[in-house]
Amino acid sequence: MKILLGKVLINYPYFAAVILFAIGSATVLTRSNLFKKLIGINIMESAIFLMFIAAGSRRDGVVPILHMDDSLRPYINPLPSALMLTGIVVSVSVTAFALALIVRLYRFYGTTDAKRMSDIRNGVAKE
């Protein structure tokens, strides 16, 4: 157990990512407000970005831009950073689309709460 926790502590960025992921997905699954769901999605995606970037990190590493003077210090792995650029764009696109859907739903239902929407649809909502 001690060894396990020690290893977890060494890998603290991954652990943080896991916790963020859990928070994000719990928000998505338990909240009924559509905005909160969307924010949950964003938290979750950030968690994965964090994990990726951490995987590319290196002790005493520097940004992966070639510089002539100092080649002693290692560069960090540039691949995860490049991938996450794409990942962020994807995340932005999803967010934009989800917001558009929320706007359309709000126009119709006058609420952003999923529970109230289904109440209205079932015709039992009272002002």
Binding site: I65, N77, S93
Partner: protein
């Protein structure tokens, strides 16, 4: 009763997943170590060969715009798709009316 049962079920599931994740995190290659498996021929070439291969000193740029440009093409397509999806969602769908 059913509610508590469900809660207990979710709790057990969460605990199991949590434990699994914990073990996985512990097992992953140590953070920031030089011996990590990601430092292989792939990242070697990105780091050492980027200038020669692509003429760009910024390795991230080299990857995004040259080595993995196919991904970047789809990245723009994601944006394009999202734009069209937003348009189709909002424009012309108004006539369903304001219920309020």
């Amino acid at each position: 009763m059913g509610k508590y049962l469900r809660l207990a079920f979710i709790l057990i599931l969460a605990l199991l997943t949590g434990y699994g994740v914990l073990v996985t995190v512990a097992e992953l290659p140590p953070y920031g170590a030089d011996t990590n498996l990601t430092y292989n021929q792939v990242s070697e070439r990105y780091i050492n060969g980027a200038l020669e291969d692509t003429g760009v000193p910024n390795m991230v740029t080299a990857i995004v715009l040259d080595y993995r440009a196919y991904d970047t093409m789809f990245e723009t397509i994601v944006l394009f798709t999202a734009v069209i999806a937003v348009l189709i969602t909002l424009k012309g769908a108004q006539e369903e009316g304001d219920r309020k």
